[in-house]
């Protein structure tokens, strides 16, 4: 029985983290109709920022996380203005190819800058765990989970309560209508992309603490973001959280009760099934589906 509890705890903790990794990806895809293949590299860049701060200035990664988010915000804004904006109105898979090229550049730039080594941010306290009977809850992962869920909820609040948040949603639903009402779509898109990159950077800092990372682990984060974004419904912040938790549990239980190697097959099986049965995703709202595409 404890095995089930332990893997459920682990699945939830991991799921919260995966949600934070994917929420930005889902936002950009839902609102801007852009699939960002370089999303995983933003996560790893966030890890390196936190790692560098920890190594040179001894800053705890959970503080370094904010610096990582800030750096990635600026980087995201610039990437949108310089690159993504040039093909924003092109057919959908133009942005896929553009970000594929961007991913190649960023991964290999990181290999040159930081070498291909596997890194992890060492904090004294992250490794220990609270023991509830046989079930152990590691501090690092628990803190990561709380921060991840907190940031995602903050994003949900931001999207529905602030002026900029509503502008982003409106532009996502009908860009031309939004522009008619004086919303500068280009700036809104750039801010959306920057927010997504910042969330990825923050997630990167946490991932770097609880696990290991190297430039080569970037594509895995992008693929997981795909599954979560579709599971939760595109552009749906709640959906990303739910999708993350579901994927975390599926992978954890899958690993527990099926052979370890089947876990990824299960994840993609779930992805394809959800797509065919309910393209709008678990919590996705149909209106995103019927968005007017100019």
């Amino acid at each position: 029985m404890t095995e089930f509890l332990q893997s459920t705890v682990y699945g939830l903790l991991q799921g919260g983290l995966l949600a934070l990794v994917a929420v930005g990806f889902s936002l950009v895809w839902g609102v801007m109709n852009v699939v960002n293949l370089a999303h995983g590299t933003f996560v790893v860049l966030g890890s390196y920022v936190a790692w560098q701060l920890n190594k040179s200035a001894g800053v705890d990664p959970f503080l370094g996380m904010f610096a990582a988010a800030a750096c990635l915000f600026v980087a995201g804004y610039a990437v949108h203005m310089l690159l993504i904006n040039q093909v924003i109105k092109a057919p959908i898979w133009m942005t896929l190819l553009l970000t594929f090229g961007l991913e190649l550049v960023l991964i290999n730039a990181m290999v040159l800058l930081f070498s291909g080594d596997f890194r992890s941010i060492n904090t004294g306290w992250a490794g220990d765990a609270i023991a509830l009977g046989d079930v152990r809850i590691p501090y690092g992962r628990l803190a990561g989970f709380l921060v991840a869920v907190g940031l995602t909820l903050a994003l949900v609040a931001f999207m529905s309560r602030t002026r900029l948040g509503l502008a982003i949603k409106a532009t996502g639903m009908d860009r031309d209508a939004a522009r008619l009402m004086g919303i500068r779509a280009r700036r809104v898109y750039a801010t959306t992309f920057a927010i997504a990159a910042a969330m990825a950077g923050a997630a990167g800092a946490i991932v770097g603490t609880v696990g290991t990372f190297s430039p080569a682990s970037a594509p895995a984060f992008t693929l997981q973001s795909f599954v979560i974004a579709v599971l939760g419904g595109l552009g749906n912040m709640w959906g990303a959280l739910a999708g993350g938790l579901v994927l975390g549990l599926v992978q954890s239980w899958g690993g527990q009760y099926l052979s370890g190697t089947l876990v990824t097959a299960v994840a993609f099986g779930v992805l394809v099934a959800v797509l065919i049965v309910r393209p709008a995703g678990l919590l996705g709202k149909p209106y995103y589906e019927a968005r007017v595409e100019t």
Binding site: I92, L97, L271
Partner: protein, 349 residues
């Protein structure tokens, strides 16, 4: 054959009107150029090195892969991000038949084509109901999922430890064709794939696909059975891609799921088809040859930076040539204005 260049519009009177094709390669001149190119490539390997033959064989393989993708992504407008699933299945069908059933390669090859055809039809029915991003991501999901399935069927596929085709040494079922042999094999596949795309582009089936690409509801209203047409295009793509996979597996002798279902294959074939000119006949050929020689050249000369430069080139090419090289040249030829900035302005916000 009166043509009036002064009118600024090269009349393609002699060729059937049809969709606007590459101005200077349409009609008879096109056939002449194709024949010359084919003869050239047939004669070439004699004075080539083994590794140069191998590089060109890889180029021809990518021509076939790009043309396969062109059928479903370019013509029908359904951007599949999972064509590598046919590549992997074709490869593994061949390897399993040769290694486990002792079949000869020339028996395993058609079997691989059948597997490609069958899986495309089977997968097409549910997946082709989705559109746009959802279709792209569903096909990506199927490809990634299939890699994991093959990885877990250790008994049949050897899983992570790979599977070896008996091509060298005593129990080889088929003599190993060597670099020259594979050069001609992949050349034939590239020619076959391009011929299929040429036939499709001029056939009723091709027009139907283009109609679906532009506006599926309008196409349905015109009597086009969109489901059958889409599955047809997907199956053709499946056959061509699985044939390429079969030849690749034989060439590599030892194959691994991680390599045969590598998403890099899909992304490369899409980049090549799109930058060359998706929805055209010549586009993917130029895209595949051009990009492959580019990456070979880069890898030889800037060992540390070649992937970065390749990434930058893709980014720049996508921004400046979103509609692809062929269509850019054709429109430019038609309107006498070759301006890259128009492209950028067209899609910029």
């Amino acid at each position: 054959m009166a043509t009036d260049p002064q009118a600024g519009k090269p009349a393609s009177a002699e060729g059937p009107g049809g969709a606007r094709r590459l101005g200077f390669l349409s009609g008879r001149a096109g056939w002449v150029a194709a024949a010359v190119a084919l003869l050239f490539f047939i004669a070439l390997p004699v004075q080539l090195y083994g590794s140069q033959q191998r590089t060109l064989a890889a180029a021809f393989m990518f021509v076939a892969l790009a043309q396969g993708w062109n059928l479903i992504g370019g013509f029908a407008g359904y951007p599949s991000f999972g064509n590598v699933v046919f590549f992997g299945l074709g490869g593994y069908t061949t390897a399993i038949l040769m290694a486990k059933a002792g079949a000869s390669f020339y028996v395993a090859l058609p079997a691989a084509a059948l597997v490609g055809l069958g899986f495309a039809a089977l997968m097409g029915v549910p997946v082709l109901r989705l559109r746009g991003h959802y279709f792209a991501i569903a096909t990506l999901g199927v490809a990634e999922g299939m890699r994991e399935v093959v990885l877990n069927l250790d008994g049949l596929t050897g899983g992570g430890s790979g599977l070896t085709v008996p091509a060298v040494g005593s129990e080889a079922t088929t003599s190993y064709p060597g670099n020259a042999g594979f050069y001609y094999m992949f050349l034939a596949l590239a020619v076959l794939a391009t011929a299929v795309v040429l036939w499709v582009s001029r056939s009723r089936f091709g027009y139907g696909l283009r109609a679906i690409n532009q506006d599926e509801d309008a196409a349905a209203a015109m009597g086009i059975d969109t489901t059958r047409a889409k599955i047809g295009a997907f199956a053709l793509a499946g056959v061509i891609t699985s044939l390429a996979g079969a030849m690749y597996a034989f060439q590599q002798i030892t194959i691994y799921p991680v390599r045969l279902f590598d998403v890099q294959f899909t992304l490369l074939m899409v980049v090549m088809a799109v930058i060359g000119g998706s929805g055209t006949v010549v586009g993917p050929v130029l895209g595949a040859l051009g990009l492959l020689f580019l990456s070979e050249y880069l890898r030889d000369n800037l060992t540390d930076y070649h992937t970065i430069v390749f990434g930058v080139i893709i980014v720049v090419a996508v921004i400046l040539l979103p509609q692809g090289l062929v269509r850019f040249v054709r429109d430019g030829w038609r309107t006498r204005r070759f301006s890259l900035l128009d492209n950028v302005r067209a899609y910029r916000l």
